[in-house]
Symmetry: C2
Subunit: 407 residues, 2 copies
């Protein structure tokens, strides 16, 4: 497997574009198109929030029932959530406009929206944007960059990755982009994440691979504990790599899954590393847990603890908060057996063992906690299960961004 | 029922004191004593965190098995949590010192600690503090004030309340104090809360009343979603009011429960109103829910949403975040049926109905959200169940306090 350029345009036959539609933001790109020259097999996962945005309802229907898909139209600025019938009508209008412009069926157009909840969408501006996107689309690094930037809200950087690998003697390429910075506590999915791939793969196996991979990546991150109404992960595979179709489990499927896990892990970490106001990417590794479920509960409890996050922002080795968060996770363990470590590129120290503080240097701990990527390692000594979760610290800036997000 | 002065000293036969022991803080009172002239019946609830502080383990044993209790010794500064055997030995030393000084049995001395997790306790300073407390204890408003201030950590004000009411022709008085400002997300209990009462009541009924009341008050508040290792609620009843013992359910028990509910609600609201960095007390009222459990889930989900809390700090009527938090609560409902209102002393407005925004004035909404007490009312239209939860907004100050709490 090797890294390649081009994000969602890296895989054969995929084009992209970004446009300034003025949905809500001014003077920046706020609409993106991802388009495949040929029909695609598709898999997706969506928010578990009871309140689902209109484009989530639209996409879920297509992912389940459409014979194929060929395009994704995304806007930032307004989420098209809590918009009632008007919101669903807007989805129809967008899909119709895209279908006309791209000469593809309406039910092959997937949609995504991110931004303020509750505001109605400016349908005319969206249509004008779609016309522009259809005219500009191309397969280039610049087009992928434009699309990745257009879907940003409070994100400070665009988030892309692409890799290539061999399947049955053919080079397969897989590339993705995602956005998300606040309201990040995905459950079945992240905010918005789109992956394109030129592999030939059956819908059944693609769906299986996507579900498993999302559970260990996007569902293991948290910025603020708020599960969005718009979480969407979509994977489009168009078969243009020419590989023998991956239609059963085996070596080719494992290779595909490994690439997908790497890609999703990378995107998920980019996402929380750019969490609203974040100054550090925090990784929580739980080992020695009683079961996989317990390991996940423990890792997520620490990554979601506001007090732990604030301590890391302050570079303060306040490990009691970590033990406290493990304690209220719902997983059983013996506090006397747990061992805790801090780790970064600056080193690794043990901070807790045998029921109380280990003998460590506060200075060394502060040095480790001042790095941009910090790992908290918890060995529960209860079994063999492991899990990793990712998040970020909690800073003044998070509050500032969210105290007045709408203006 | 009427309000009276004197906090934990309001009920007959209860004395208190505060002392400067220098446990961790300098130049302020950091130890408190609550003492009854006669033996008390006791009930308590404690943290559900797997990691329990040493004084929690100590108290739980006494509440279950001791024939009676007569004193509570509390310190702030260090939590005596994650301190292993040394922490438990410290509890024994404290109880022994208090027993000697107060001439009561060791197993009638309850303990409470709050502050930094993981640091060992300075046993000698605690003993000196206990000697001072025993010498100073008295039944006065000043003594209750001293005790209430001594247990504060990041609290900005002390939190006390007392009421009196009639039982069987006798005046019964009930008074309490509590502390807590961060790491507040009680589960079975709040940080530290101590209530004294001169009623005669059986242990069985007292335990029942305490459990039910805590479930609807302290367990319905959240400052930051972190359930502490030290949460403790203790209720001491010494019978000195001379009322016929409340030994079965009936009018006297109902009167007692009503007073307890009022007292616990008041203390719980004081607690979150003084949440770390809080500028507003937020109340979430859920009505029309399918079940009591669903109502509680919905109310707690909104009160815990970082994004909702940050929006209230910014006086921003970003109601989409409220609907989003209802949506990920785990309770089922129809987003089209929900109605949302904002309410404060400045007025009341409907902000959401029929699946999208109601026609309200942003100016009026901002005015309501600028008040010090703000109510979010959600009518789910699913049934008859109701629940109320309390919390506070999320400010820069919260992050500041917690980024460097230990220094």
């Amino acid at each position: 497997m090797k890294m390649v350029e081009g994000g969602v345009c890296a895989a054969k036959g995929f084009q992209a574009a970004g446009a300034e539609a003025g949905v809500k933001y001014k003077d920046r790109k706020d609409m993106a198109l991802v388009y495949s020259e040929v029909p695609c097999v598709c898999a997706g996962t969506f928010t578990t929030n009871v309140v689902k945005a209109a484009p989530v309802l639209w996409d879920r229907e297509l992912v389940e029932n459409a014979p194929f898909v060929q395009a994704i139209v995304v806007n930032s600025g307004i989420a098209n959530a809590c918009t009632g019938k008007e919101g669903l009508d807007c989805c129809k209008a967008e899909a119709k406009e895209a279908a006309d412009r791209l000469q593809i069926p309406e039910n092959s157009v997937l949609l995504g929206s991110t931004g303020v909840i509750g505001m109605q969408m400016p349908v005319d501006r969206l249509k004008t944007g779609i016309a522009e996107l259809a005219g500009k689309k191309e397969r280039s690094v610049k087009a992928a960059d434009d699309a990745a930037r257009a879907i940003m809200t409070t994100d400070t950087v665009d988030k892309q990755i692409a890799v290539s690998f061999e399947v049955g003697g053919k080079t397969v390429t897989m590339g993705g982009m995602c956005k998300g910075s606040g309201m990040i506590h995905p459950n079945m999915c992240t905010m918005l994440s789109f992956v394109t791939c030129d592999a030939a793969i059956s819908k059944e196996l693609l769906t299986k691979a996507v579900k498993e991979s999302v559970a260990d990546t996007f569902n293991m991150i948290s910025v603020d504990g708020d599960t969005s109404t718009n979480d969407t992960f979509l994977f489009l595979a168009n078969g243009m790599a020419g590989n023998p179709e991956i239609a059963e489990e085996g070596e080719a499927y494992e290779t595909f899954k490994e690439a997908l896990l790497f890609l999703n892990t990378t995107l998920a970490k980019k996402l929380v590393g750019d969490g609203e106001g974040a100054t550090a990417l925090v990784e929580v590794q739980v080992v020695g847990a009683e079961s996989k479920e317990a390991a996940k509960q423990l890792a997520k409890s620490v990554i979601c603890s506001s007090l732990t996050k604030a301590a890391i922002f302050g570079h303060d080795a306040n490990w009691g908060r970590i033990l406290c968060a493990l304690g209220y996770s719902g997983a059983a363990f013996d506090p006397e057996k747990v061992e805790l470590f801090f780790q970064s590129k600056s080193g690794r120290i043990q901070i807790y063992k045998n029921g109380s503080a280990a003998d460590y240097s506060e200075e060394e701990a502060t040095k480790i906690l001042s790095d941009e990527e910090v790992t908290i390692l918890a060995d529960m000594h209860m079994g063999d299960a492991t899990a990793t979760a990712w998040g970020c610290d909690l800073s003044y800036e998070y509050v500032k961004i969210n105290a007045d997000y709408r203006s």
